[in-house]
Subunit: 183 residues, 2 copies
Amino acid sequence: MKAKRKSIAIDMDNVIADIEEQAIIWYERDFGVRIKREAMHGIPEADAFPNKQAVYNYVHAPGFFRTAPVVPGAVEALQKLMINFEVYIVSAAMEFPLSLYEKREWLSEHFSFISWRNIVFCGDKSVIDTDYLIDDHPKNLDFCRGKAIMFTAGHNRNHHQHTRVNNWAEAATLMEQELSIQG
Amino acid sequence: MKAKRKSIAIDMDNVIADIEEQAIIWYERDFGVRIKREAMHGIPEADAFPNKQAVYNYVHAPGFFRTAPVVPGAVEALQKLMINFEVYIVSAAMEFPLSLYEKREWLSEHFSFISWRNIVFCGDKSVIDTDYLIDDHPKNLDFCRGKAIMFTAGHNRNHHQHTRVNNWAEAATLMEQELSIQG
């Protein structure tokens, strides 16, 4: 008999929901300028945009989270991970009350195979205890209880204190290796 | 120097938000019959009402969670607990998507002294790791990682496997004792 399945907490923004791309799309819609993703490297997202305040406002605007694109490969990767791991979606959504319903609806649309039992919306993630956390934010990864895995986003490119994956193909490979280590 | 403050997860429904009372109020409004709280003793809440389906429907109805009364003594007790404990509100809200925004707004109205950082809405509570959990549901208490404290609700009166508190005065006294044991 195998032991209890290991658990993975997976962040939403910039890990399964492409918030960088969504900001680029909305900014182009509003200002007619398409910002390159490379412009976000090593700086907070909003700093890449000439009108920073517009981007700050987006996260409070109806529809921003609800219509965000899915990060490429996330759906297939999560379906595969669920075979061997207990997968939780853990999003620090509490700062933006409007996003709560939108994120829940977004998950129902794109990740309907994730049970509501496995979704957590929180403030800080320090009370969440899973064996792994895949997240783009050092502030979450630095204090997590399990193994921290940094999912590459523009803003985190200069942080090197955690195991890094650049996309869902790399994340899937890493988790397969973890599984074989567990034996 | 004292050690890190112990953490308490506090459930919402029937612990700080008086959902039994809210069901009674709405049922009387809709059917002109006032059900006694005693009718809920030892059975699932909805079973106390002649029209069970109406009560099931309430939890999906706009306004039900948003306008629920506060459990007597909860505000004062939480303010006091926050002096010595790290207090988290942890609600299994994910099953009812509409409730997410309503519960967040309700907390902002009645418990504005609780930071959004300390609010968690989840599906099951098994990934939440705090030193204590105050909750009315055996399904949450049975699997919690910290010390389980059962807050009396009608439906849990026949469950005796956890330390029980009948109201917020008793809960506050118990937590003071816990603090003195910690030294």
